[in-house]
Amino acid sequence: MAKETGICSWKELALGTAILTPGNASELKTGDWRSMRPVVDYEKCVKCGRCYILCPDMVYSPRDDGYYELNYYYCKGCGICAHECPKGAIEMVEEER
């Protein structure tokens, strides 16, 4: 039986399934199964950066103007950012699919 459900051939794996290229976890899409998405109200945001610090993935990144922008490629919809935002500037909105 040979359905191609694996991401690569077993022959291509490094010894002991080691990862030889550091940092490649950034390629892993973790944002394809969320049910809620965080939406930021920049009127309320005070640029404190808690969302950026506390996000367990890599959703938030600082912009030149001091605000933080979101990359939904990584967002699992856990809601930590919304829970921790001291100004209530982040709202969790249901994903429409």
Partner: protein, 391 residues
């Protein structure tokens, strides 16, 4: 030239590990492994072995240290028994999956309860599916030789898997035997310095031991399975090389008077010497009995086993562990599967003997052979029994 010495087998095992110039020893003392580790600790403390001896607080930590050290490129050694092995086993799966060539001497002991420090093969069976290569020694000389063989095989870039050398607790570990102890030159000629293929190195960072999501785990296990299958020719080749240097010949399945035997007893470990004595006695009475002993347990030497028992009409599998599956012992179940796959259909009876240090005597083996014949003649359904369990 090798020195012929009278030496306790545990001490000889430790001396051999020292001759192999290991970098890291991490172990927790447990009966009957204790003397091996104690002696290594002395050798390090006395400056005779330049190694890091890590006196860990548990076997779980012992194997964790070995995994870390081996991943950093060190030649590592540990030793344990029974309950200690059980505590260690979580990390043992990781050692083989990460392809780390750690060597362990497993001083075989029964599993509690009831509490028993004595010898059987329950811990060997616990190691059965962990992905380690496993060899089993019959006597002290074999312990020394199999430890050297273990490093040579484990560190071979075609293998890179951990190896367990099994030796019977007390029966071997605490026995003083005549042993040809190799010289440093002989050891170095047989086991080249360890050159890791992949290791933790700050200048060349890699991740060893990442998550394997469902889309990669199957392929990871397939690669590991291929690795242990491909280890077999290297194991055999290493025994051939061993013979060239040391003059002693080792095979995955050792046979004794099995060529023309109608009845073959299958054994593992030190009871095989008693079994050979029984074979001699039965042969003297005209009974065509032989012995097949399993020296290589993992990967299992299917072809060699089949060749060894092909001519036998009756096979008595004598094993020192229970499987609690309700129909046979763990080794016998496996051997029956091998026989079935190879179209052989002898009468097989499984004798579970020597549990928790119970002696298995020459007379016991003679009775087993007799019992096997009676059962086969009566055409009794094949099965198993626990030998000498008093009613």
């Amino acid at each position: 030239m090798a020195r012929r010495v009278g030496m306790e087998v545990s001490i000889a095992a430790a001396e051999t590990v020292a001759l192999l110039d290991v970098d890291v020893v991490a172990a927790y003392p447990i009966t009957p492994q204790t003397h091996i580790v104690e002696h290594l600790s002395e050798l390090v403390a006395d400056g005779q072995l330049d190694a890091e001896f890590v006196p860990v607080e548990s076997e779980h930590s012992a194997m964790s240290v070995c995994v870390g050290a081996a991943a950093a490129g060190a030649r590592t050694f540990t030793s344990t028994s029974s309950q200690g092995y059980a505590l260690m086993v979580e990390i043992c799966y990781i050692a083989s999956s990460l392809r780390l060539p750690i060597v362990m001497a497993l001083a075989n002991r029964s599993m509690s309860a009831p509490i028993s420090i004595w010898n059987d093969h329950a811990d060997m069976m616990l190691a059965r599916d962990t992905g380690w290569i496993q060899t089993v020694a019959e006597n002290g000389q074999e312990v020394v030789d199999l430890i050297m063989h273990a490093y040579r095989v484990a560190e071979d870039h075609r293998v890179l898997l951990p190896v367990i050398v099994n030796l019977d607790g007390f029966i071997l570990t605490h026995m003083i035997e005549p042993i040809q102890l190799p010289t440093k030159e002989e050891v170095q000629a047989y086991v080249p310095p360890y050159k890791p293929l992949l290791r933790l190195d700050p200048d060349n960072p890699v991740t060893i031991g990442p998550v394997g999501v469902p889309e990669v785990y199957t392929e990871a296990k397939k690669a590991q399975d291929e690795a242990i299958k491909n280890a077999k020719p290297v194991i055999l080749e290493a025994w051939d090389e061993f013979e060239k240097i040391f003059g002693r010949k080792y095979k995955p399945i050792e046979t004794y008077k099995a060529e023309d035997a109608e009845i073959i007893l299958v054994t593992v470990g030190s009871i095989s010497e008693t079994a050979m004595r029984a074979v001699d006695r039965m042969r003297a009475h005209g009974k065509r009995v032989g012995l097949a002993r399993i020296r290589l347990f993992r990967p299992f030497p299917v072809e060699e086993f089949v060749d060894a028992v092909r001519g036998a009409k009756l096979i008595g599998v004598v094993e020192r562990a229970l499987g609690f599956n309700g129909y046979t012992g763990p080794l016998c179940a496996e051997l029956k599967s091998v026989l079935f796959d190879n179209g052989l259909n002898p009468y097989v009876w499984n004798f579970i003997a020597g549990l928790g240090g119970r002696d298995v005597t020459v007379e016991d083996f003679e009775e087993m052979a007799e019992c096997l014949e009676v059962k086969a003649n009566k055409n009794e359904p094949m099965g198993y029994e626990i030998v000498n369990a008093r009613e």
